[in-house]
Amino acid sequence: MLLIDGVSYRYRDALTPALQNISLNIPATGVYGLLGPNGAGKTTLISLLAGLLTAAVGQISLNGQPLAALRAANPGRIALVPQDYAFYPMLSISENLRFFAGALGLKKPELQTQIDYAISFARLEQVVGKRAEHLSGGLRRRLNLAIGLLGQPQLLLLDEPTVGVDPQSRHFLLDAIAALPATGTMVIYTSHYMEEIAAICQKVAIIDQGQVLLEGALEDILRSDGAVLELHLAAPLPEAIAQHYAAKEEGKLKYRLKLPSTAALPRLLDELLAAGCTVRDLNLGQHNLEQVFMQLTQRSLRD
């Protein structure tokens, strides 16, 4: 388990801290999502975990041992896959992998084993001799990921790893990342794409303005916020019902109502019937992460 305890961080000359008293319990299995808009503090937190920044306040430990000590003992145990294409465009895929494996201090035969594994995992076999500068955006992302896997890391930090890729490559990357916990790698995944987080993460923390707004299992977060009912009526929704269910008008005679749970639907239908409302259409569903985030921050994830 990765324990982040009371961590704060303020950049030099910044008026406000980038992270304020962050505490998270990140399980050793599964993919953990860090969700938040640009500037929320996700990359700062990832940089702290990767050792690029040092927290003045708070503790970070992995399985009870300080993360910095673990990193010093074996830098390959904690790997960072940054947002940028952090490799050498003039080198081929195999040359890049060979270089980064060497930079981790790997020696033959382990070096070759790790390179083969990374190539196979990221499905780069067909383009292994191609120079990185001639790769498509999707293949570049796969190479970026493959480099991160070279040291068989215990903790893999993925900072927005799908930015700028086509849907097919994104699908491949998400599948590949979702499969990583089965190989014994703990994954922390940051994104401002809520559908990505929803697709591969079991636990999520929503961060904004350097603070954790919400943390927990994805299902619990979505369930805890109740159900959503979209209604299309023949006449306006009576005021009393609208107030009771925090209804919002989303079109002509179309409303979005917040229900405490799906079990509350029969009672609402009874109330509508009693008020003489004719229901033309209805759609019952859960909140998605985007809506949860909006409710928490009054802002969109892409703001």
């Binding site: 030099r12 990767a50 050792g51 952090a86 490799f87 003039m90 060497g102 981790l104």
Partner: protein
């Protein structure tokens, strides 16, 4: 051998081999400069070579003395005399048309008045007149003037000797004034032994352009370094636990090796290629201690060049900036350091400025070994300056990167 350092060296080598522009700047550019500049400056380094400047003598006197003066000027052979109309106006037109650079006009009565002081007997003496192409360099104008004055002095001395002989009734050998006298001044280079040849154009230009090319590692070093910084590769390497000093060490050795390959290539060009173009072959010291001294200078220049390149790479934000700052910096260091123009043709102020150019320190070191066959003690001042420069620039590069890191945190 550390696998991390080995990986860094290998990466840097592959990246450089793929950088065609960088390789051209490092190898092709200096070869072209060596060939062109060796040919262009060949005469400037060869004592006694005929200067390609034409002159005419307009002999209005037509006396034995005026003819004798012309013969003496022909013997000097430094400038070449054209024959033409014996007319001052034709000579003036020849200069205006660019066919001539100089015209010496010997006035009527030149021979008669050869030994009479100016203004003697109340008669003003017509001076010798020298017409000059204004584009001719002042040094050459002065050289021609000196040559005429020397010929005139010798002519007067002979005339005086002959008259004195007659006065005392001594026998006079016919035509003695036109005898070929042995050269009265012989040039010899001062060095520790006398086996080496005189300094030549190729010995100026090969080390000069080699040094210039070595400093051009700034182009490939900075282009790779800036890519690493901009694309987050340096951060990734830091996250992998690679200290910055190791990353710098990973750059130092490959480019040091590249610099030494440049040195070998340029020496081979000087030995084998320059003679094919009509130049003199480069002569490299034959003894092992001198070769080691030569290599020590080459190594010190290389360390200074790579450290300078790392400083530029740390200062510049983009590869374009690095190319401009590095390129202009190199050209300035070359211009004041005696690379493009030999130091001895510079004015005194510029020669003093050269003392501030690392390229001049390198060139002094090479010349000390190649021309003066200097010992290690002789090249030590050059080595010390270059190594201090390398240490300072490298320290500054490390400090700039550290400062940038702190600013980002």
């Amino acid at each position: 051998m550390s696998p991390r350092l080995l990986a860094l060296w290998l990466k840097e080598t592959i990246a450089l081999l793929r950088d065609r522009h960088g390789l051209m700047a490092l190898f092709i550019m200096p070869i072209i400069f060596i060939l062109v500049m060796t040919m262009a400056l060949r005469d400037a380094f060869t004592p006694g070579t005929t200067i390609d400047v034409a002159f005419v003598v307009v002999d209005l006197d037509q006396s034995a003395h005026s003819k004798s003066l012309i013969k003496r000027l022909d013997k000097a052979a430094a400038f070449h005399r054209n024959t033409g109309d014996n007319d001052p106006e034709a000579a003036r037109q020849g200069i205006l048309a660019g066919q001539l650079s100089l015209a010496l006009i010997l006035p009527k009565g030149f021979g008669e008045r050869l030994l009479k002081p100016t203004g003697a007997e109340g008669q003003p003496t017509a001076p010798l007149q020298l017409l000059i192409d204004p584009t001719l360099s002042p040094a050459l104008q002065l050289a021609f003037r000196s040559q005429v004055m020397a010929a005139l002095g010798a002519l007067r001395a002979d005339e005086l000797t002959q008259r004195a002989g007659k006065l005392f009734g001594l026998p006079t050998a016919a035509g003695s004034s036109e005898k070929d006298w042995p050269d009265e001044i012989r040039s010899s280079a001062v060095r520790n032994d006398l086996s080496a040849k005189l300094p030549s154009s190729v010995q100026q230009n090969v080390p000069a352009w080699l040094i210039f090319a070595m400093f051009f590692v700034v182009i490939p070093v900075s282009s790779i370094f800036i890519i690493e910084r901009q694309q987050g590769t340096l951060q990734r390497l830091r996250a992998m636990g690679l200290p910055f000093r190791l990353i710098l060490a990973g750059k130092l050795l490959p480019f040091f090796v590249v610099n030494q390959l440049q040195a070998v290539t340029m020496v081979l060009v000087g030995i084998f290629l320059v003679p094919l173009f009509g130049g003199e072959a480069l002569e490299i010291p034959a003894s092992l201690p001198l070769l080691l001294n030569w290599w020590a200078v080459s190594a010190a220049v290389s360390l200074a060049a790579v450290a300078w390149a790392l400083l530029i790479a740390s200062l510049a934000k983009t590869t374009e900036q690095a190319t401009i700052i590095g390129g202009v910096g190199n050209v300035l260091m070359g211009a004041i350091g005696g690379i493009m123009v030999p130091k001895f043709v510079m004015p005194a102020v510029m020669q003093k400025l050269a003392a501030f150019s690392p390229m001049a320190w390198g060139l002094d070191g090479f010349h000390s070994v190649m021309l003066r066959h200097g010992s290690f003690a002789d090249i030590l001042p050059s080595l010390a300056r270059l190594l201090v420069f390398a240490t300072l620039t490298l320290s500054l590069a490390i400090w700039l990167n550290h400062r940038a890191l702190v600013a980002r945190s």
